[in-house]
């Protein structure tokens, strides 16, 4: 299974090493890691709370991952997403894609991120000096999805 939803942190280097371990057919390995920032829109952020929908989350991620594999010649594909309370600087999630060629690896990683942002059932709450507030979805994120619906 190449989709994981977990409370614990993950080891980015170990995950990437595992993806290519023992293989000699991969030409390009792309990774994206999302991290908790200490500010958002000018306000200080002291922590992040990630709520998710157990059951649906795993299904949604598996579906996104499977669609990426259908669209690009991927030799490996991984999504790890955390939930719970996180501090600034902590890792929130990662995706990794491996392919013979760089363009496929890059495109698939961006595709996974665009879908994760708006189609995986996670909700972020930021804690700051003025209390906690739910993060609004960005129109930009919704718009980013549109580019993948064009026929390839």
């Amino acid at each position: 299974m190449t989709v994981r939803v977990q409370r614990d942190d993950f080891d980015l280097g170990a995950e990437l090493a595992a993806l290519r371990a023992g293989r000699t057919d991969i030409g390009a390995l792309v990774s994206f890691t999302g991290l908790v920032r200490d500010s958002a829109g000018g306000d200080a952020v002291s922590g992040l709370e990630l709520e998710h929908y157990p059951g649906m989350t795993e299904q949604a991620l598996a579906k996104i991952e499977s669609e990426a594999r259908d669209r690009w010649p991927l030799q490996a594909c991984l999504i790890v997403h955390r939930w719970g309370r996180l501090l600034p600087g902590e890792q929130i999630m990662m995706v990794a894609t491996a392919s013979p060629h760089r363009q496929a690896a890059f495109e698939a990683a961006e595709f996974l991120m665009d879908f994760l942002k708006s189609r995986a059932p996670f909700w972020k709450r930021e804690h700051g000096p003025a209390g906690a507030k739910w993060v609004d979805a960005r129109n930009l994120d919704e718009a980013a999805l549109a580019r993948w619906t064009k026929p390839r």
């Binding site: 709520e51 059951g55 299904q59 189609r119 996670f122 909700w123 739910w134 979805a137």
Partner: protein, 83 residues
């Protein structure tokens, strides 16, 4: 029909529970929302602007016109902010 209804993020906060069992004859999600709205003020408040509410039936994202026949679980939540 007995449905398990879940709420996430600020919908959970406004309604005050993460999930509940609802006995309803609603044919669609929209019907269910209308029924909940008339039930108590907190539901009316939570569902006051449906443009900022998303819905999943049996863990699949869908629209408010989705039928509920055979459904076991309905979830309401704001637009997702993963990644």
């Amino acid at each position: 029909m007995s449905l398990r209804v879940l709420y996430f993020a600020w919908l959970r906060e406004r309604i005050g529970v993460p999930s509940e069992t609802v006995d309803t004859g609603a044919a669609t999600v929209a019907d269910l929302v209308a029924e909940l709205r008339t039930r108590e003020e907190r539901y009316a408040l939570a569902f006051s602007d449906l443009r900022s509410v998303r819905v999943a039936v049996d863990q699949e994202l869908t629209g408010f016109d989705a039928p509920l026949a055979g459904a076991r679980e309905v979830a309401f939540f704001p637009p997702m902010t993963g990644g």
